[in-house]
Amino acid sequence: MDRNRLHNQVASMRRSLFDQGYLDDQFIQLEELQDDTNPNFVQEVVTLFYNDSTRLIQNIEQALNSRPIDFCKLDDYMHQFKGSSSSIGAKKVTNECTAFREYCNAENAEGCIRSFQQVKQEHAILKRKLEVYLQTVRQASQTA
């Protein structure tokens, strides 16, 4: 009963992602938008997010390394980052972005640097979890 096992695995992983606060309702919106005309919609959006956010992370790193720090530019990058992460339902990542922007508004460089480590960490954790989850979803649908 490989198929049942895989489907159970998918359901369990999915539940865990929501229960542990990695994903919120917006991710469900993405799932609901996936249909026969767009069978890979969720994966496509997630991929777009990771391509986009990788670029933003590099920009933010650069901005944090320059002296003096341009807090306006930093906030602008983080605004984009936060927008994208909330668009895919990446709850923890979005929360860390909010925390970062608070340090940014206060022009607290150390706070920004620390907070950014958290953003990157959550970003990486979710990336790994989503990769595994979406791979399992694919396997389960192929074993139909």
Binding site: Q29, F41, G83, S84
Partner: protein, 166 residues
């Protein structure tokens, strides 16, 4: 003379500088049976409408949904340009933003926006668009009827076939 509603798809012009959000809003609109054109800036939106040149535009747009925060021309700037144009001021405009700032929301609504959606936009938001489109279509039908009667009575029949929506 009467067209079935399913044959008429409203055409929505979506404007957002972020690729992910553009993809999302496009999918949301298509799922709701709208025809969609998505562009990444206010400038491109105006070009699409034909506002940047004097050529008569053939494109029919029934609603414009735009992001607020965009480099160059903001959603508010775009809203004002639409409302100040004689050809397009009657097209309903909806603004989206990830920031919940009451003064911004008020400004947009006072500037002529029909709705202000907080991002991420969901299907329930897109469902709110239809009344604005239905109302607008009826207004256009009434306006054109009145105009045609003044211009040339025998040309009105063909026009009615295109415009009537149940």
């Amino acid at each position: 003379m009467v067209m079935a509603a399913s044959e008429t798809k409203f055409h929505v012009l979506a404007v957002d500088d972020t690729l992910i959000d553009r993809k999302l809003i496009e999918k949301l609109l298509k799922t709701s049976s709208y025809q969609v054109t998505a562009v990444d800036s206010g400038t491109k939106a105006l070009e699409f409408l034909g506002l940047n040149n004097n050529d008569h535009q053939d494109v029919e747009v029934n609603l414009i949904i735009t992001d607020y925060c965009m480099p160059g021309m903001t959603g508010y700037d775009l809203l004002r340009k639409i409302k100040e144009s004689s050809s397009f001021k009657d097209i309903p405009v909806v603004i989206m933003s990830s920031d919940n700032i009451p003064s911004r929301i008020n400004r947009c609504l006072e500037g002529g926006a029909e709705e202000f959606f907080l991002k991420p936009v969901q299907l329930s938001d897109v469902n709110k668009l239809r009344p604005h489109l239905m109302k607008r279509t009826q207004t256009n039908v009434n306006k054109r009827k009145a105009m045609d009667e003044i211009v040339s009575p025998d040309r009105t029949r063909a026009r009615y076939n295109e415009l009537e929506v149940n």
